[in-house]
Symmetry: C2
Subunit: 227 residues, 2 copies
DNA sequence: TAAATTTTTTAGACAAAACTAAAAAATACT
DNA sequence: AGTATTTTTTAGTTTTGTCTAAAAAATTTA
């Protein structure tokens, strides 16, 4: 047994899938994924990453030139988008059907995304009503890897007086999401900036036309608004 | 990373879990699990099984005396029942919520049973309405490992004239289940024996007070009836 | 641009879980 | 009981994915 997914559908091992997804996410932010960044993300050592990069390059999953970063090939991108699709669909399932809170879903979805059954994902997608966004506001690719992009900017860059909606969060750590729960910020919440405090960059935010809250610039950086 | 389930809930690797479940199922039928039987069930070689038995005995999961078969300890039984519980709950989910047919669920459930999250299973159980039996009629243990036992006998041992219900099937291979679909046998179907053919041991069976079908003794052996 | 620092790779080991081939124990058969 | 057969275990490899330590390349800094 290569790994525990004995169906013949999947071409990659569990570890390979983890690397592919990590590289995808890093490339979303910075063009090329560096060895150290991958190691950090996977809680592994740079030496281990080097080994795996060689292996994945042999398999035509990524473009690799020694000492330069890596990017995904079309093949690799397809695999990554499928993993992202599975991860986000499972997150929707956990929140919508099993009453998980948005700060509880990530770890479980990290496991569920490796389940290898195209039929399962097809049926799950239908069962959930073909959702376009996950509980953190991130888009869910369809089976072809296509996804909806809603224009959005960080909360901190919104102009005073303009009203928008919270569309997504960038930090999906439990501690950040629990903080958002506490102050009442959620995906879809109506927000506008009342004032920007020069001293520390914090923001006075009107929430759902009701209460006014103060958020730090660190928090504001991780909230995206639009519409 | 030991395996890909990074939560701290689970004590066993994926491979160990496979062995524990295989040993559980073998012991259901024959008291002690023999090395060769385990190898057959896991599509592995007896030498590999010997290695693993030693390891699992060290971990106090099973009682092992060289050249004798093995049995699960209380610890091992607890782990096995939890795996069985997870497997069968996922099977119910696939059939009830995702419209899988009962011949399509086993392989996917074999993967899903390894997902390591007590919260997930608790919530899934509630979402499904705390089912007591899986799509093949097998009982689902609760979180303490307890399960309902309905008295049942093989179809072949039912007396002529007596009416019963199909409670479970013993063979859950796709080919067997697809055959049952074809002839119209399902869990809950009303059955009675009209006649037993001496020549080959086959049975004339009245199904749902409607049609009459003929089933071989091999088929009859794998269908359990009761109530 | 040369030295210092950081990043990445190589070399060599290790653990888990599988395998083959051969030895040892248990069981079955005259 | 003694031989033959089957079952199980041991011994020695292999593969995957990890690690540490050291070497090499790239980048930053003076």
């Amino acid at each position: 047994m290569k790994d525990h997914r004995v169906t013949t559908e999947n071409q990659y091992t569990l570890a390979e899938e983890d690397y592919i997804k990590a590289i995808y996410h890093i490339c979303q932010q910075s063009q090329e994924a560096q060895t150290n960044d991958i190691a950090d993300r996977l809680h592994t050592k740079p030496a281990s990453v080097s080994d795996m990069l060689k292996k994945l390059a042999d398999k035509k999953v990524l473009n690799y030139i020694k000492y330069r970063g890596v990017t995904l090939t079309e093949e690799g991108m397809k695999a990554a988008l499928n993993l992202v699709r599975k991860h986000r669909l499972w997150e929707v399932f956990l929140v919508e059907k099993l009453n998980f809170s948005w700060d509880e879903v990530h770890e479980v979805a990290e496991q569920l995304e490796h389940i290898d059954s195209a039929l399962l994902i097809e049926r799950l997608d239908a069962f959930l009503g073909f959702p376009k966004f996950d509980p953190h506001g991130d888009p869910i690719p369809n089976e072809k890897g296509e996804f909806v992009v809603k224009p959005h900017i960080p909360l901190g860059e919104m102009e005073i007086g303009v009203t928008g909606k919270v569309l997504a969060v960038q930090d999906i750590s439990a501690s950040f999401l629990q903080y958002l729960n506490k102050v009442g910020i959620y995906i879809g919440a109506k927000v506008s900036i009342l004032d920007k405090i020069d001293y520390d960059g914090s923001l006075e935010v009107k929430l759902d036309e009701q209460k006014t809250i103060l958020v730090s610039k660190e928090v504001a950086k991780n909230i995206f608004v639009g519409e």
